[in-house]
Amino acid sequence: MITVIQLVYLASATCFVVGLHLMNSPATAGRGNLVSAAGMGAGVLATVLLIIRSGMITTTGWAVLLAGIAVGSVAGLLSARTVRMTAMPQLVSLFNAVGGGAAALVAVGDVLRGTGAGAPVALDVAIGAVTFTGSLVAAGKLQGLVPAQPVVLTGARAINLALVLVMVVGGVSLAVFGPNPLVTTVVGVAALAFGVTMVMPIGGADMPVVISLLNAFTGTAVAMAGFVIHNDMLIIAGALVGASGTILTKLMATAMNRSLASIVIGGFGTGDDSGPLTAEPTARVREVAADDAAIQLAYADRIVVVPGYGLAAAQAQHEVRELAEVLENRGVTVSYAIHPVAGRMPGHMNVLLAEANVPYSQLRDMEEANPDFARTDVVLVVGANDVTNPAARRPGTPVSGMPILDVDRAKSVIVIKRSMGHGYAGIDNELYTNPKTGMFFADAKAGLASLTAAVKTLA
């Protein structure tokens, strides 16, 4: 029987791996989540059998267990169902907190029974507790309950050092002298405090990375819990999350152009120093990366490309046609909206697009294109600026009175340009700060090429 249960555990762990594997591509991600959930279900069922078979559990134990599970499940389900899409990250962080908390409690329970063994217990308690408070603070920052700006206490460095010291000394003593409720409590409290002091000085913009890091922490804590209660499934699943979470954290930090070290150590010491500097200019523009833009494009039905002088300057006409072809092969409808004064000479865009062999049938002039934007999923603006500037609709600007391409009527907009730089008319473009708009900062040629590559990787 135990063997069967162990085999089920192994199967569950395998499900987690396969599930995560499938999550690597949007096409199979849904299936991956189901496989992983199935593994979870099997693991829990096997454990029910295990504790029934062991016969050790008291009736109160059952009641407590079932009550706890019921309360937790309902809370989890409700919050997960009702939360707005934009509040997802804080919710994930909360789940993370409770997961870490649970892992720490398992170790604490083990210590109470006097069986908790050495290093794993200490690690479990410390990591779990740090995760618990750290995740709560992170969720609070995202939700606005805790100030999103980096909060640096005076003497933060000293406090942090002291807390780390307490955890290390306590942990070593637990590992060497065996279970001790008092030491465990001290370590746990220090860890709880450290979770707060660690996350507080980190700015809100870095929170997604921090949450991912805490996620990896929880995984590690769970693996430690597995050591504590000698359960392979917990070790495997925990280590899996710990490792993949770490890689993911690194990927996320890279995608945001931040180094992991600078985020965490920045938090440790002087606070998120680069944050406030970059916060101002980019505060209101949403930046997107190639992969995200690619997914938006690949899963759209209708796309309109708006070329401008930047396309010509980058000589990216071949790249834009190639992207369009790849998208069309996926079944996306692609057309080009050409503003009469796009570029620097009459017909500038025509010369370029003809050179790249873009079929004439895909070219729309402004009169044809404008009524269709409302039915367009994504407008891809490539190096165009003035010809899309909604400021033209108001009097008093240099472009006032010029009819523009109404790209802001589309469901979403992706703009490829190198910077927030101005166009010919030398004025800011309100399109770029529109919440619908994602800015993909790149040279048009290189940017389009990376979009094409990214679209091709999607199944």
Partner: protein
Amino acid sequence: MLADLSVFVLSLLIGFEVISKVPVTLHTPLMSAANSIHGIIVVGAMVLAASVDTPLGYVLAFLAAAFAAANVVGGYVVTGRMLKMFRSRR
């Protein structure tokens, strides 16, 4: 303990390998999926509940069970919701 360590190390390797080149847009769902997986600590909570008999123990077990269950259930549902965004075509 040594066997457990092997298992631990091997699982770490799998974790590193499995997250290969992930598109940025999947980062959040993947994080959420990993998050649900560590909900497996619910098994730990169950084992804990099966081994305690003091009031403090029960409190711990209750808390651990509730926490873990919230993690599991909420985690999978949230991940599922996030992934629905990708299911519009094909």
